[in-house]
């Protein structure tokens, strides 16, 4: 009998799978299978009967119904995405500003960091709902100056709606910056400070070095933060779209509800989200030919430092020469 021989490498590989096994089972049972089933449901009219589910093939009818027959879903979807884009921009800019401030040598940095991270703990649907109802989520100053009234009077409704919803929930929007702030901070700490020094010597001021050094160096962090914030906005808090899908799932199938419609809606939502994520990826992608190595290797740093030193000396000498 030929003995089954397994090489050491293969055996280690097998052991890797053993450790991964729980996750693999879960991935198949609670992700892949439901994912495929969900596509299947979305092509059917699903009726819940006493002896199980009754499925009637309807093809793309559920999808056409969503866009033609349903009164609220498409509007909610477009509202969500216009809101999300605006909020994403606010979060990305705000968290960058805070991170850059906290990156300065300050006392009590830990306290600030703790406070800016605090809302992560608090954000849950019902709590946010209470706060919105209380009117506690708008910045007090914006409220008292009636900015919303001005916005609504000045701008066409297409722009005014997302803006006024942004202002009335501004703090909530800012609350999504807890994680992005920390991600930016780690990114900022990794930028080589010699670069700033070198650029100063070349005559760049803070503004220029922000655009030429800080921002390009943070490009991957912007992407991570964008993806994180978008996914978070899409899955938590006061999301009308999910609430509608949830509600449709349990409503009667003759009135534009049921498992089939709900699945189709979920897929439309997921595909829109995927498009948004891909757009984000393309926007933050590094352009070819414009790549600048920001995080330099040790050797490069050494060379840079040498150059900087030399430049400094040259300048000093140059100045002396001039004086003579």
């Amino acid at each position: 009998m030929k003995k089954l021989r397994i090489s050491l490498v293969a055996r280690r590989e097998m052991k890797g799978y053993v450790f991964l096994l729980p996750w693999l089972i879960g991935f198949v049972a609670f992700f892949l299978v439901p994912l495929v089933q969900s596509v299947w449901y979305s092509w059917h009219d699903v009726k819940v009967t006493a002896n199980g589910l009754k499925m009637i093939w309807v093809g793309w009818d559920n999808y056409t119904y969503i866009f033609q027959g349903d009164t609220v879903f498409v509007e909610q979807l477009s509202n969500f995405f216009t809101d999300a884009i605006l909020r994403l921009a606010v979060v990305l800019v705000f968290s960058l500003v805070i991170a850059m401030m906290l990156n300065q040598p300050l006392k009590g940095k830990g306290v600030f960091r703790t406070l800016f991270f605090l809302p992560i703990i608090v954000v849950s649907g019902p709590v946010l709902e209470r706060l919105v109802n209380e009117g506690a989520t708008a910045v007090p100053l914006i409220e008292s100056y009636g900015v919303n009234g001005i916005v609504e009077a000045m701008l066409p409704p297409m722009l005014a709606r997302p803006l006024s919803s942004l202002f009335s929930q501004l703090i909530l929007v800012l609350w999504y910056s807890g994680v992005p702030i920390l991600i930016y901070m780690t990114g900022l700490q990794k930028i080589d400070s010699n670069l700033y020094e070198a650029s100063m010597i070349d005559g760049a001021n803070g503004w220029v070095s922000f655009w030429k050094i800080t921002l390009p160096a943070l490009r991957p962090m912007i992407l991570i933060n964008g993806v994180y914030t978008l996914v978070f906005l899409a899955t938590t808090g006061l999301n009308e779209v999910i609430a509608t899908i949830n509600e449709r799932m349990f409503s009667d199938s003759s009135r534009g509800g049921g498992y089939g419609i709900a699945s189709a809606m979920a897929w439309v939502y997921a595909l829109c989200l995927a498009v948004a994520l891909i757009a984000l990826l393309l926007l933050t992608k590094e352009r070819k030919g414009k790549q600048i190595a920001i995080q330099k290797t040790g050797e490069q740093i050494a060379i840079e430092r040498m150059h900087a030193e030399r430049a400094k000396n040259m300048k000093r000498k140059g100045g002396k020469k001039h004086g003579r």
């Binding site: 280690r12 992700f31 992560i120 909530l172 920390l182 020094e197 699945s263």
Partner: protein, 322 residues
Amino acid sequence: MAGKPTLHKVKKLAIGGYRQMGLLPKTALYVMLISLCFVYVYPILHMAITSLKSLTDLLDPSVQWLPHEITFSNYTQALDIMGFSEHLVDTLLVTVVPALCQTASCALAGYAFARFRFKGRGILMACVLLTFIVPFPVLMVPTYTMYSDYGILRTIWTMILPSITGQGLRAAIFILIYRATYEQIPFSLDEAARVDGASETRVFLTIGVPLGLPAMITSFLFSFVWYWNETYTTSLFMGNASLGSSKSISTLVMELAKFEDSYLTYLERAGGWAAKTGGANIQNEAVTMAGTILTIAPLLIVYFCLQRYFTEAIDRSGITGE
């Protein structure tokens, strides 16, 4: 002429040079940070202060920040309305158990991704990220029917099964944290253990678990907070108003979601004298805020005691590139 150097010195002190930040920019920075912090935390402060106001203070528009007297009766009422003690037990059950399961299962997955080379590792890692990106509603209907087929709806198994197999709430983030943590532990350690004849399980238990402990604490805390705050899945799988069975599990956050209704029935129950005092049947927002504070209070306590583990999670996840 003599004043010039001192002027320069003053200027340098105020505005600062390249190395040292001057006093003026520093003060400006502090003022800006503190005011931004205030704006940021404003809703929580507002909530806390409103919850302590008495009815007269609440109706008096001149009282905004400092109530005349601190009223704790709002809290006792809110405790009563929410059935706090009884739902706290439920909440802890559906929070701590899945969080523990998630901590363990993600540790295994992260360990596998970091310490072993196997075929399809890259693709599987991409699958992990996919589970993060795909929104839950896509999986909602089939998962619901699956649970109802197995007859585990409205039991804690709907929380345990996904979390013990690494498909819990935002499990992908935890797998990333573990992967980054385990990649940083030197491989020579487990090589040595293996040479001494330790099995892979033993290597994991004696090296992986102790050295991965900080990541485990972080994962547990985040899972705890996120499960605590979760409403969509818990209300979908745990409680269903239409069935209204007595043994359905309801968390504090779910109780908060229907606080207004519970408040109304509470007022009606106490309505005997309330009706006589004339129109006292109004919902007092201080009580609602007290309820909200009570819901998040355990989280706040955990956060302020262990905030280091929360804020260090980002560095630990390794997503910022190493």
